[in-house]
Structure formats: C-alpha cells, structure tokens
C-alpha cells in the first residue's frame, strides 16, 4: 500500500518540500541489543525456591511436632481418665451404703423405729418420738458361716458316779447368733396346718 501511495503523495506535494520529505524518510537502524541484568532474577528464583523448600520443611516439621504432641497428650488424657475412673471407683467403694452403715454402727448409731417430725416454724412435734435403742436394731452384716456338723459335733456328755453331767467338749454348744429372733406374740396358732 505504502509503496503505491508514496509516489502519488510525492507527486502531489510541491517540489519545494521534496528535500524535507527526502530527509524525513524512515531508514532501518541497527537493532540495539539490551541485556537485562541476570543476577537479581537468579537470586529471586533461588530465594523463592529456597524459601519454599525451607518453608515446606518447617511446616512439615511443625506438623510432625504437633503429631508428637497429640500422641503424648492423648496418652496423658487416657491416663488421666483412667486415673479419674479409679478414683471414682474408690469413691463409690467408700460411699457403699453397707460401709457407711457399718461405720455409723461402730460409732454407736442405731436406726430409729419411730419417725417423728419437728416443725421448725411452730415448734410442733408430730409422730411419737422415742429414743432409738439398740434392741430393735437391724443386723447389717451377714451372719458368720455355720460350721458343718462334721466340724461341730454334739458335746459328749458323761455321767459320773456323782450323777452330774460334764462336757468333754471345752467349746460347748454353739452360741446363739445375735440375729436370732425373739418370738413375739404369735397371732396365729401353729398346731393345725390349715391355710389362714
């Protein structure tokens, strides 16, 4: 295009300007080769690379560290919860009603049979208060195991010439257990085996 229009343009321009046009003509100049400095770029890339690697390493290390800590803490938690449970068990053992009752009994406490209430507002007493006595108390421990008859034979009684009976067996007959009841008034006879 320019090759076709340039002569037309030239021809149309006044001859006077020909020299100026001649001067203004573009000419090819040799290319100037600029060399960017390499050092900063290489440094940047190396730094990035190094930073990345070191960062990754640090990150990984810290994660490992966290994992170690987690393991240690988990173990500690397990130990502590086991410890807690052991203490809880100990507590339950101490709170066992049987143990508490035995401890109370050793201090001379008895379970009262007649409940009575004191109204703190009016001072009125309801129920029939009576001092608790050991007599009506309940046996709270299991009776001792009875000896089998083989180990606890009847005492051998010998009649001496004087007629008095002696016991050879020094232990004598077994003592009545204190859990043995005192037979109260029997409301119902026993001789006739009939439903009642």
């Amino acid at each position: 295009m320019s090759s076709s229009t340039a002569p037309q343009l030239r021809s149309r321009l006044p001859r006077l300007a020909e020299a100026a046009v001649e001067r203004a003509r573009l000419t090819v100049v040799p290319r100037r080769r600029t060399r960017a400095p390499r050092i900063p770029f290489v440094t940047l890339v190396s730094l990035l690379l190094l930073g990345g690697v070191v960062g990754l390493l640090l990150f990984n290390t810290s994660m490992q560290q966290a994992s170690f800590a987690a393991t240690a803490l988990e173990e500690q938690a397990t130990n502590l919860s086991a410890r807690e449970q052991t203490l809880q068990m100990e507590l339950e053992r101490l709170r066992d009603p049987q143990r508490v009752a035995e401890a109370a009994k050793r201090q001379g406490l008895v379970i009262p049979l007649a409940p009575a209430f004191l109204d703190l507002g009016t001072g009125k007493v309801t129920g029939s208060p009576a001092p608790a006595t050991a007599e009506g108390d309940t046996r709270i421990t299991a009776p001792p195991p009875t000896r089998p008859p083989e180990l606890d034979p009847d005492p051998i009684r010998l009649k001496t010439r004087g007629g008095s009976a002696h016991t050879l067996d020094g232990v004598g007959t077994q003592q009545d257990r204190d859990g043995k009841p005192r037979l109260g008034q029997r409301d119902q006879g026993r001789d006739n085996h009939r439903p009642r």
């Binding site: 919860s81 086991a82 009603p97 709270i140 037979l183 109260g184 119902q188 009939r194 009642r196």
Partner: protein
C-alpha cells in the same frame, strides 16, 4: 633418565594389553550397563505392570493401624443417680511366653506381688510352649495395669503388654444384685457378656456401638496428612431405675434378718410408691454379690429376681382383693354381719379357721381383722359366676407386670373348667392361685391408690428391652378396678388388722401413723413333692398413712420354721421398713384417728 625412558614404553605396553583397546572397553561397558538396566526395567515392569495395587496395599498396610474406639457401656443408676452398675476402663495383662519363659520365675514373682495373681498359675502361663499369647490378669483397672507393665519394662522384663478389657463395677455389691444382674468375663474382643438381670434385658440399650479409626502411623505417631478415617463410637445409654439404693440396702438387711430369724428358706420385700407405682425396692433373700458372682457354688440358682420369677400362693393377703371386690359389686359393706361357724363343710372338704372357735358373730371388718377363712368363703358366696375371676384379672393377677426383668412369671390364675366352685372357695382366701411378689404388691396397691390399679414400674422414663418392648414410667397405664368407696372401706377394715385388740398383727404398727395391712399365711407347695407339704409362706402387705397412702410394702417369707405367722414374722419387718421409708421421704403422720369399725356384733 635413559633407563626410565627405556622402561616406560614396556610398562605401557603391558597395561595396554590388559585394558584392551578403548573400543573394546566401551563395548564391554555398554553391555554391562545394559544388563544392569534391563534387570531394573524387568523389576519395574514386575512392580508396576503386574498387580501394582497389592504392592501399594502392602506399603500402606505397613504403616496403617485400625483402632476400635470402644463405646462406653451405659450405667445403671438408682432414682437419685447413684450407680448400681458402672463401667470403668480396664486392661488385661498379656504375656508372650516365647519372651518370658527364660526369666519366668522372676517375672511371676513380680506379677504376683503387683497384680494379686497366683504365683504358680502365672509361672505356668509364662512358660507355655508354642504359644505367644497368654492372659496373666484380666479386667485390671487401667492405671494399675499400665503401671505394672511400665515397671516390668523398667526392670527389663520383656514380653508383657496390655490390651483393652473393660471392667464393670457394682459398687453396691449385693444391693439390688437380684435386679441388676451382672456381666460375665468379657469376650476376647472386649465385648460384654451379659448374664442376668437388667444387664441382660437391656443389653442392647446399654451397650452402644463401637467406633473405628484408621490412620497411618510412623514410630507410634500419627502421620499428618496421611490416610485418616474416624467413625466415632456411640456410647450406650444410662438406665435409670426407680430403685432407691439406700432403701434397697436397708430392705435387704431387714429381710435377711427376718428370714434368718424365722429360720425360713427365702423371702421377698417390695416397696412401692402408692401414687406412681414406682418400685423403690425389690429385695430378695438369699441373693448374691454382683461384683463377685462366682464367690460360692451356692450362688448358682440365685442369678434372678425371685420376687418376679418365683410363684407362690399368697394366702390371706388375697382376701383383701376378694372382699374389696365384693364391696365394689355392692354385695356387702364393712359392717355387714356374718355368723361364722367353727367348721364350714364344703363339697370336697371342710374349711377351717386357724383358730378354734364355735359359732361367732363377726362383721366383715372382723373377718378381715381376724383373718377368718370361713367368713371370707361365706361372703364370697355372694359373687356371681366368673365375677371374682374378672376382679382378680382386673387387679393384675395372671398377667406379667412387664417391668423389664427377664424370666418373669405371670402367675397362675385358673380359668375355664379349672375354675370350679371348690376352686373359687379356696381362691377367695388366697389358695389355689399363684402370684409373684411384685404382682401382689401392685394388686394391694390398688386399694392404697383409691381403687385405681397403676402398673408397677422399675425403669425411670423409657427404655427399650432387647425384646423390643418399651418399658418404664412413661408407659404406665392406670385403670379403675374398684370404686373409691370400696377401696376406702377396705382400707378401714385393714386398719383393724393392726389393732392390738381387734387384729392379728399389732407388730406391724408404725408408732404415730395410721397403717392398713393384711397378714397372710399360706400352705406352701413344697419343691420336692409338688404338693402342700406342711410348710408355709407367711407375708404381710400394707400401706401407710392409711388415710393418705404414700407407700405400699409387701414382705414375704417362705417356709419359716419358728412357727411364726404373717403377723409375727413379716409384720415387724413391715413396720421397720415402713417407718424407715416414711422418715426417709419425710412423710409426717396425718394426725387423724384410726378406724374404730366394729369387728363383732
């Protein structure tokens, strides 16, 4: 210089011959390298081409661990949240005999000192041949087990380690053991083995679901960013019962003293909240220690709730049901007069009273107060056919209470052709039918609750049994069996039983309170002959305060050998339990005067 100069070419010539020409060397080198590389590539093809997944799997497995996240078994609690059964992390100590055999005596000494295990048994286990897995101790509290194994490591004993083995503890020992049951030695994987009681009935409800975790480890630590899947464990639910642990404890002690004192075989004591039907106590004697169930061979038959699983004939306590039904049916009232002969001849055999008497004039209240069989049968003649049975069914006899205890009996209430006139006569005073103790307590509680029977319950709220039934206080039904007036008349008559002059059970009185109750002494079907063998079942059922009942208590003693009856054996036990319960729950006396209904005319 020359010399050396002359020597050099010779030496070079020799080496040159050894090395061969460079071309040859190059070729040999290429061949060698090619051979090595082809070995590598063959191996590569083998690894990557042929079944690469299994190798990848093996590599992953190397560092992957599967861990079971154990679900905690739910506790069994009493009504105040006190534990009747709770779970504790436990461990088992396991030995590898291959590693322990050499130093077995030392290790056995150490273990027997620290773990309370038998020295000789341990020694044997540490020396078992061809085994790499021997239990040393099971269900050891976790802290103790880890301490011991750590100490063993420190002493240089190798081949001991621990493994999960949950411990179930029963802090109350024999308290409510009959209801709670127990777990046997866990299976090897640590799963519970429920053997009796609530532990068994609600096994699924209590157990929960184990979770699972899968992750990669390196040197005992979890590898971050490695494979990691976790399914959380679902813990079992707690089972809250309506039992009051302290009251249950006291009832068991009173019952034991009562049974032993009467030289009886066994007994039950049931304490029930009259208004809600909640069972505060279901005690059995004999019972066992749930924390050591195998302590005695005699424990064998005891792993049950005898108050629910055993049947017996209730005797005169049942008259309460017969006579209140009669009043409800409008046939009699508490002042109706009866002429009671000394003997009442009936179709198959004459009926007697327990005491000798001629013709006496008793009111209905007197029949109750004196517990007259003849009077009861005369009164019960007023029933239309089938009416008594309907009432008894209404009171809940012949049906399970379904409170959540396995193996419950429904009792025995004759029906159809078996219900003859003779049967009806006997059933009227409590023979010829069988009940369990909780059933009977619930029936008597109907009178206490103004004629409305309320289902007894053992579980607070709602819980699902393994059989798929929802039980608990949320599922309690009420139904009116007799009118409020009939219940009140019956209550007044039952008060006369406690009266020192009119009644037969003054021993059941609670000082200061109005108490209504009824004795029972029934012929007992012996275990050997399956017939009435001359032994008895004595019982006392009652409630207090009579004019505003809060608690119903039922005490039963089987086969007392001291000649006592319901009033003298079970009555005092009732009195103790009632006064304790009233005090414990802060129920003051109502202050009104007890009934003075005439017993004679």
């Amino acid at each position: 210089m020359r010399r050396t100069g002359s020597l050099r070419p010779r030496g070079r010539g020799k080496r040159g011959r050894l090395r061969g020409s460079p071309l040859v060397r190059l070729r040999v080198g290429f061949v060698l390298i090619a051979m090595v590389l082809s070995v590598f590539s063959a191996r590569l093809v083998q690894l990557q081409g042929i079944d690469p997944k299994s190798y990848a799997q093996m590599a992953a497995d190397e560092g992957t661990v599967d861990v079971v996240l154990p679900a905690t078994r739910g506790d069994i609690l009493d009504r105040n949240g006190e534990p009747l059964a709770d779970s504790v992390d436990g461990l088992m100590v396991v030995a590898d005999p291959l590693m322990t055999a050499d130093r077995a005596p030392e290790i056995a000494t150490f273990l027997s000192k620290r773990l309370d295990v038998d020295y000789f048994a341990t020694l044997e286990r540490l020396r078992v041949e061809d085994s790499r897995y021997q239990y040393i101790a099971r269900q050891v509290p976790a802290t103790l087990a880890t301490d011991v194994v750590d100490a063993a490591d420190a002493l240089g004993y190798e081949g001991l380690w621990t493994q999960r083995d949950p411990v179930r503890s029963y802090p109350g020992r024999d308290v409510a053991a009959n209801l709670v049951g127990f777990l046997g030695t866990p299976r090897n994987d640590g799963a519970a083995r429920a053997l009796a009681g609530l532990e068994d009935t609600f096994n699924g409800y209590l157990a929960g679901t184990d979770g699972e975790a899968r992750y990669e480890v390196g040197a005992g630590n979890r590898i971050p960013l490695g494979d990691n899947t976790v399914t959380e464990a679902v813990d079992g639910d707690d089972l809250t019962t309506t039992i009051d642990r302290d009251l249950q404890w006291y009832a068991q002690r009173v019952l034991r003293q009562t049974v032993l004192g009467a030289r009886g075989d066994s007994g039950h004591a049931v304490i029930m909240d009259s208004r809600t039907g909640e069972l505060l106590t279901v005690a059995d004697y004999p019972t066992y220690d749930a924390s050591d169930p195998y302590a005695s061979a005699a424990n064998d038959g005891l792993y049950k709730s005898a108050a629910l699983t055993d049947v017996y004939e209730p005797g005169s306590v049942e008259k309460v049901l017969t006579l209140s039904s009669l009043i409800d049916a409008g046939k009699v009232n508490s002042r109706t007069r009866f002429r009671v002969p000394g003997v009442l001849p009936r179709q198959d055999r004459p009926i007697h009273d327990y005491w000798e008497h001629g013709l006496i004039n008793l009111t209905l209240a007197g029949i109750v107060a004196k517990s007259s069989n003849i009077g009861t049968v005369l009164a019960a003649d007023e029933f239309r056919r089938g009416q008594l049975r309907n009432y008894l069914t209404g009171f809940g006899l012949g049906h399970r209470t379904d409170i959540g205890v396995g193996g419950e009996t429904k009792g025995l209430l004759p029906s159809g052709e078996l219900w003859t006139d003779q049967t009806e006569d006997r059933i009227a005073f409590g023979q010829g039918l069988s009940v369990n103790a909780v059933q009977m307590a619930a029936a008597v509680n109907t009178i206490a609750n103004g004629g409305v029977r309320i289902d007894p319950s053992l579980v607070h709220g709602s819980a699902l049994t393994d059989d798929g039934a929802e039980v608990g206080t949320d599922h309690v039904d009420e139904r009116r069996v007799i009118s409020e007036d009939a219940a009140w008349q019956m209550t007044q008559m039952m008060e006369r039983v406690i009266d020192p002059e009119a009644g037969v059970a003054p021993g059941a009185a609670v000082p200061g309170y109005r108490v209504a109750g009824k004795t029972g002494t029934a012929q007992r079907v012996g275990p050997e002959c399956k017939c009435y063998d001359g032994s008895f079942t004595v019982s006392f059922a009652g409630f207090a305060p009579a004019d505003d009942p809060r608690f119903t208590i039922y005490v039963v003693v089987h086969n007392p050998r001291n000649g006592g009856g319901g009033g003298s054996v079970a009555g005092p036990a009732f009195s103790k339990l009632m006064s304790y319960t009233l005090r414990r729950y802060g129920v003051p006396p109502t202050g009104s005067h007890p009934s003075r209904l005439p017993v004679e005319w």
